[in-house]
């Protein structure tokens, strides 16, 4: 396929509408039909003639920022929107924009729920069993790749405008089988009147398509003209109360705030399709429907509220709308908030945003109350099987609804409640603060731990280096040998050694007493190391003995901390065996060395805070997973 980086050049041809005579333009070379803007007739060109193929309905008003003539760039290729079809299915509707990519290339841009699918027709051999009876969840092989069917629905064209590369007869129907490719590609098999066509492309966000020449959105762009429907309020068919649609064209259902009827909002004729309990109308949601707030840098309007519950708990979901960005959900439970978005094209339950997820919960949820409007047909008591996978602060959710042939993936990120409060709370109102750990709440202790990890590692390295340096500097050196002789002294007589000199700064002193004692004799020496000048004393005791059961007893070592320099001597009082008459004792004086207790105390001090955070972090995770049926900490 050739590419072009500029918008396709118009190949305009003008005809007269065969129905009303108004001018009908065929600007694009790919156009086969054009809808008369005056009378809605489908005008089909055949050579130099045009034919009338019946009339289509007027497009319902919407808040889409796109319009015929909007230009854009998709992956380096310029395009212009030349026409569109509105397709309706059982539970809603979507818009298919026809894009002229130039050089005869037609692309389709589906606009649904605020995101886009860009696709192009592809000629492929499809498996023979793929038809309108295919089911979501089935896998099929296309181009030797596994594609997953995510959605099967029959769409009916309810309105169209502009130019189209085919003829959309009024009421034209087709079955759309949406697929997800192995790399998250978008695919669609269109089955219509026995014809099967395959379209392949990708999911895109508004910003990815680089749109220009957009429509001014009423109510959002200041200069936008107010359309008829914005000025004429809709009325509830049951109680005639006015119903104001905030996401017109995108909303599929709305709840009448007066009579609690659920109304089909997919067409301009509001139709009652259900009822919510009168008690629902008395609910005062924390966030007011209709309130707008700037949130994460974008303006959002709250348009819907749902209360859902499972076997264990109940939580609230708010639907936010922005015409350019689509829809988001604000989910709140016990003061915790998450911003959730639909993930089109998502296929895996274990990875999102490059992170691995763990299964946290699988429960059937029931929608107990709904207020406001929604982009699908809400039903009171609607049931869905919800499966949550977590990788805080993210949550990945899979939703499978009864009777809907579709699997919906959504991804959420945890939000501090203060952010939601700042955006949407009424002046002076504060939101309740979070209660207990939540499934995707970031572990605050792990966060703090990661913040101090680098300083802690560097501190430990520096600390060990300091100790290694001191090990070289503070080695033990022998200072002196002094002797003393025991002579059967009378009790109370002291033995005094010669004076010896200790030099340098304060340092440990190690005194080793070695006595040559006869067998089974003892000589206890208790006294002090005495500073000759100041007479300051440092108590010492050398319990010398020579027993066959304690052969090392004749040698005793005493260590004294922080002894300043100066002249010292030892004065000790002997306590000897009564029959010991004489014994020579030698004192070896050493100086220096390190106390390793200091090293361990300091290391403990450095590790105390990280250790505390690790314990708190583990405790937090245990409490988080206590809420899960898949608790990895559980011994069951």
């Amino acid at each position: 396929m050739e590419t072009s980086t500029t918008a396709p050049a118009p190949a305009s041809r003008r005809y007269e509408c065969p129905q009303c005579g108004a001018p009908v333009e065929f600007r694009s070379s790919i156009s086969i039909s054009s809808i008369c803007a005056h009378c809605r007739t489908v005008v089909v060109r055949r050579d130099f003639q045009v034919e009338n193929y019946g009339q289509v309905a007027e497009l319902p008003p919407d808040l889409s920022p796109l319009q015929i003539g909007t230009r854009g760039h998709w992956q380096g290729r310029a395009f212009t929107l030349i026409g569109r079809m509105r397709l309706h299915y059982g539970d809603g509707s979507w818009t298919e924009w026809c894009a002229d990519f130039g050089q005869g290339t037609t692309g389709w841009i589906a606009e649904v729920m605020g995101f886009f699918m860009v696709s192009f027709p592809h000629s492929v051999k499809l498996p023979p069993f793929v038809d309108d009876t295919s089911k979501a969840g089935q896998r099929i092989k296309i181009h030797q790749e596994d594609w997953l069917i995510t959605d099967v629905k029959e769409g009916r064209c309810i309105a169209a405008e502009g130019e189209l590369p085919m003829v959309p007869p009024p009421g034209w129907k087709r079955t759309s089988i949406d697929l997800n490719g192995p790399q998250g590609q978008f695919g669609s098999i269109e089955v219509s009147s026995g014809d099967v066509e395959f379209y392949q492309g990708e999911y895109a966000e508004f910003a990815d398509l680089n749109f220009t020449e957009l429509r001014k959105v009423p109510g959002w762009d200041k200069e936008a003209e107010i359309t008829r429907r914005q000025s004429d309020a809709l009325n509830c068919p049951r109680c005639a109360a006015s119903v104001h649609l905030r996401a017109e064209g995108q909303s599929m259902s709305a709840v009448c705030g007066s009579c609690a009827s659920i109304l089909d909002a997919s067409t301009p004729r509001l139709k009652e399709i259900g009822q919510v309990a009168q008690t629902t109308l008395r609910i005062q949601p924390l966030l007011e429907i209709g309130k707008r707030g700037v949130f994460k840098g974008d303006l959002w309007e709250i348009i819907g509220f749902m209360r859902r519950k499972d076997r264990w708990s109940s939580w609230d979901e708010y639907l936010l709308f922005n015409p350019w960005l689509g829809f988001r959900f604000l989910v709140t439970y016990k003061g915790h908030w998450s911003l959730v978005r639909i993930l089109p094209g998502h296929v895996t339950d274990s990875e999102w945003q490059g992170r691995s997820f763990k299964l946290f919960a699988r429960e059937e949820a029931i929608t107990s109350d709904v207020l406001g409007e929604f982009y699908w047909r809400v039903k009171n008591g609607e049931r869905a099987l919800l499966t949550d996978f977590i990788s805080p602060p993210y949550v990945l959710s899979k939703e499978e609804m009864d009777g809907l042939n579709e699997i919906t993936w959504s991804g959420g990120e945890y939000l501090p409640y203060t952010e939601v409060q700042a955006a949407f709370a009424k002046a002076g109102r504060t939101f309740p603060s979070p209660d207990g750990p939540y499934l995707n709440e970031p572990n605050p202790h792990r966060q703090r731990l990661s913040e101090i990890r680098t300083p802690a590692v560097f501190t430990v390295i520096a600390y060990i280096v300091i100790q290694i340096l001191f090990m070289g500097w503070g080695t033990v050196k022998e200072v002196s040998h002094v002797g003393a002789t025991y002579q059967g002294a009378t009790p109370g007589d002291a033995m005094v050694t010669e004076t010896f000199k200790l030099e340098g700064s304060s340092a440990p002193v190690h005194i080793t007493a070695t006595g040559l004692l006869p067998r089974d004799k003892y000589l206890g020496l208790k006294g002090s190391l005495v500073a000759a000048e100041s007479q300051q004393t440092y108590p010492v005791a050398f319990p010398l003995a020579n027993y066959t059961t304690a052969p090392d007893g004749s040698r005793q070592r005493v260590t004294l901390a922080s002894i300043p320099s100066g002249d010292y001597y030892l004065r000790v009082t002997p306590d000897a065996s009564s029959d010991l008459t004489q014994a020579n004792v030698t004192f070896t004086i050493e100086r220096g060395g390190l106390f390793w207790s200091n090293f361990w105390i300091g290391l403990g001090l450095i590790a105390l805070w990280p250790g505390w955070l690790i314990l708190r972090s583990i405790s937090f995770e245990k409490r988080r997973w206590m809420e899960s049926d898949f608790n990895p900490y559980s011994s069951d």
């Binding site: 913040e451 101090i452 300083p455 802690a456 501190t459 520096a462 600390y463 300091i466 100790q467 001191f470 500097w473 503070g474 700064s505 304060s506 340092a507 440990p508 089974d520 003892y522 206890g524 208790k526 108590p539 010492v540 005791a541 050398f542 319990p543 010398l544 003995a545 027993y547 066959t548 059961t549 304690a550 052969p551 090392d552 007893g553 005793q556 005493v558 260590t559 004294l560 901390a561 922080s562 002894i563 306590d575 065996s577 220096g592 060395g593 390190l594 106390f595 207790s597 200091n598 090293f599 105390i601 300091g602 290391l603 001090l605 450095i606 105390l608 805070w609």
Partner: protein, 65 residues
């Protein structure tokens, strides 16, 4: 400084190590020396064989004063 409290503790630990090593301090003085000042256990022959250089053993001799 992102974590002044933790950084202060870390610096304090390093300063403590440097000072204690330079001054020869210890928070845990020789407890054997302190105990020996009041003990008279050396007067009695231990019944259990004790040695700093062997793994120890049993002696069957009685106490001796």
């Amino acid at each position: 400084m992102k974590h002044p409290f933790y950084s202060s503790i870390s610096l304090l630990a390093c300063a403590y190590l440097v000072t204690a090593n330079m001054r020869g301090w210890t928070m845990f003085p020789d407890t054997a020396n302190r105990r020996a000042l009041t003990s008279t256990a050396y007067r009695y022959r231990p019944s259990v064989f004790t040695s700093g250089s062997s793994s120890g053993g049993w002696s069957f001799g009685g106490s001796h004063k």
